[in-house]
């Protein structure tokens, strides 16, 4: 019974969270490849979204965005702050930003997909925030706020979409 109640409470919160740009799957185990489906619910106060930009945080490597029909896909590559080991080889650089350029009307909804490796440098049990920006003709929606200690993401007007890092055994 308690399980259902707490699940219902979380669901109510989840409903609120959907007002923002979010990931479809909100948790993933460490040391796994995560498929991020970014959901963009609306434009910038009525304006159509012309660009979706995602900044890859440190600790997420080997990022590959999925091309999207009607959208131009660009990536920005750069060095990582520390070297990572992937399948026995050392990785020191990779995609640090993804940019989709196209058009998404305010009254429409769309999803943007990329994959990346969640390395064991990420703290287990915490939420990994991936700042995302929607750029429109004259405005921007910046989903870049990260809750401070003791603060809830629901208290923020524009929280960055996040994924909770689970222990590896939960796979």
């Amino acid at each position: 019974m308690r399980t259902i109640l707490s699940a219902a409470a979380l669901c109510a919160l989840a409903g609120v969270a959907h007002a923002h740009a979010t990931f479809e799957v909100s948790e993933a185990p460490v040391n796994s490849t995560y498929k991020a489906v970014l959901r963009v619910p609306h434009g910038c106060e009525g304006e159509a979204t012309l660009k979706v930009r995602v900044r890859i945080p440190e600790g997420v490597i080997a990022v590959k965005p999925q091309p999207k029909a009607g959208w131009t896909l660009d990536t920005v590559k750069g060095p990582y702050a520390q070297p990572y080991t992937l399948w026995g080889s050392t990785v020191t650089e990779g995609v640090v930003e993804i940019v989709w350029t196209g058009e998404l009307l305010d009254e429409h909804y769309d999803e943007f997909v990329f994959r990346g490796r969640l390395t064991d440098a990420l703290p287990v049990g915490e939420v990994l925030y991936i700042p995302t920006v929607q750029e429109c003709a004259t405005k921007a929606e910046r989903w870049i706020e990260i809750p401070a200690a003791g603060q809830n993401a629901d208290d923020l007007a524009y929280p960055a979409p996040g994924v909770t890092i689970l222990p590896a055994s939960a796979q």
Partner: protein, 516 residues
């Protein structure tokens, strides 16, 4: 078990409706910042989706807060302005909720005729300020009677019983007058009408006012004086005099000029000398009426005390005038100066009478039967002038000194420090009305920083209004500036959003106080 919960949650998350979004304001009529020829019949707010009204508050140009009538039709909210929408800047604070249940709020500002001017220092006269000035007249008279008689008993001679009774009544009147003064200060600071005197917020505000400390000291001093009048003891009377004088130094225009220790000491000296002088007049008049032959030694003893007192009074008064005026012309050209000039003229009259009493009438006291009556009449006139002087002193509260006009209202400086950036803010004049915010933004290591944008938000801490948000503009000097109308006095929070890069925003917050 935990896994089952998590998977259930994940399932529910997937099922939760994805199309929900916060309500967003799309359009407003009149548009934000508009200056209209006449008051609008309604204010129309249009949102991107159907909303429900939560809280709507209207702030009129005079700072009056009201709850306007609101009609919601789908995505449009129509707000009916208060019936007597006056010229000046109006602010509408709105809070709505939409399908996702997440409340969204904002403020909408427009002007009728012309935007309200910033409340300036000369417009400080409110109902609270007038009540405070009236309370001060009662207070000063009570103090002069009570403490003056106690000091007279300590320094000159025990006063007559009738004088002791009058003086005790005066001392007792100090407590309620001090209470009224405290409440009036609270009203004045909040700009609230006297009808809100029972409001706890007014008294919480009053506790912050320096005048409250004065009121407390005066109440204690008057209590000591009352005891000293019933059980005559010189130390008690002098302690009452000292405490009463300290009360004058604890607040007011004159005592707030730096260096405060010096101006405070000058004010205390001035007040002590004045209390001794004015307080002695009633006992002297009574002594002359009661016992004509015995009055001569009393008058002589008083003359010995009065000479140094008058010297202290004149010296401290002159020094205080010098700190408050910029030039002699201020005596006639400013309200404060005119009041001061009137007070000086009255004091000059009192000094003239005192000199007449001391050098002409008092030496003749032993001469004939008519002499004591003439001296007594002269002293009664002096008492009348003294009361007028007290009224002037109380009315200083209503007019700012030229020194304050020259300096202008002091801006509030706030330093905000974050992980990525810090900001030095100056909010001026930090009074109700239009305020200017100047922000110098640096990175966390004090190095210059050029952020992509700086947004400043203001919100009253009691939650009476939604946040007022303004976008700052970067000047050629690299300093960010913005203007915002802060419609209510009291404690406000300021939030500065510094967009350091496309993906990094630092949110800095602080508190400050908006004067009425």
């Amino acid at each position: 078990m935990i896994l089952r919960v998590l998977s259930l949650v994940a399932l529910l998350l997937g099922l939760a409706p994805a199309a929900l979004a916060h309500a967003q304001l799309r359009a407003a009529t009149p548009v934000a910042g508009a200056v209209l020829a006449a008051a609008p019949a309604e204010v129309r707010l249009q949102f991107n989706e159907p909303v429900a009204a939560l809280t709507f508050r209207w702030v009129s140009p005079d700072g009056r807060l009201s709850e306007p009538a609101v009609a919601v039709q789908g995505d449009t909210v129509r707000v009916i302005p208060p019936p007597d929408a006056a010229r000046g800047t109006h602010l509408l604070s709105w809070r709505v909720t939409s399908a996702d249940g997440h409340p969204v709020g904002g403020t909408h500002l427009f002007s009728v005729g012309a935007p309200s001017a910033t409340a300036d220092a000369t417009a400080a006269e409110t109902a609270g300020a007038r009540l405070a000035a009236f309370a001060r007249i009662i207070l000063f008279a009570g103090l002069a009677l009570g403490i003056g008689a106690a000091a007279f008993a300590a320094l000159v001679a025990p006063p007559a019983r009738s004088v002791r009774r009058l003086a005790t009544a005066g001392a007792i009147a100090v407590a309620p007058a001090a209470m009224a003064l405290t409440g009036a200060e609270g009203l004045d600071r909040l700009g609230a009408p006297p009808s809100r005197l029972a409001d706890a917020a007014v008294w919480a505000e009053a506790a912050q006012a320096p005048a409250s400390l004065s009121a407390l000291l005066w109440t204690l001093a008057a209590a000591l004086a009352a005891v000293a009048l019933v059980r005559p003891r010189a130390t008690l009377g002098l302690a009452a005099l000292g405490l009463g004088a300290l009360g004058f130094a604890a607040s007011g225009h004159a005592a707030s000029v730096s260096p405060r220790w010096l101006t405070g000491a000058l004010v205390a000296t001035h007040a002590a000398a004045l209390l001794v002088w004015l307080g002695a007049l009633t006992p002297l008049a009574a002594a002359l009426a009661r016992d004509r032959s015995g009055a001569a030694p009393v008058v002589r003893r008083f003359a010995a005390v009065a000479a140094p007192m008058l010297a202290l009074l004149a010296l401290s008064g002159a020094a205080l005038v010098w700190t408050q005026l910029r030039a002699p012309a201020d005596l006639l050209s400013t309200g404060y100066g005119q009041l001061l000039a009137l007070k000086l003229a009255l004091v000059a009259g009192m000094l003239g009478l005192a000199a007449l009493n001391r050098f002409v009438l008092a030496p003749r006291l032993t001469g004939g039967a008519a002499a004591p009556m003439r001296l007594r009449r002269s002293i009664l006139v002096e008492i009348g002038l003294g009361l007028a002087v007290l009224c002037c002193a109380a009315a200083f509260r209503l007019t700012p000194p030229p020194r304050a006009l020259e300096a202008g209202p002091a801006p509030v400086a706030i330093h905000l420090h974050g992980r990525l950036a810090m900001a030095d803010l100056a909010v001026s004049p930090a009074r109700v009305g239009l305020n200017t915010v100047v922000a110098t933004v640096l990175d966390a290591d004090f190095a210059p920083l050029t952020p992509l944008s700086v947004t400043v938000g203001f919100a009253p801490q009691d939650g009476a209004l939604e946040a007022v948000r303004v976008e700052a503009v970067r000047g050629d000097d690299g300093v960010w500036r913005a203007e915002a109308v802060l419609p209510l006095p009291g404690a406000w929070s300021v939030i500065v959003d510094v967009l350091v890069s496309d993906f990094d925003r630092e949110r800095l917050g602080g508190d400050f106080f908006v004067a009425p």
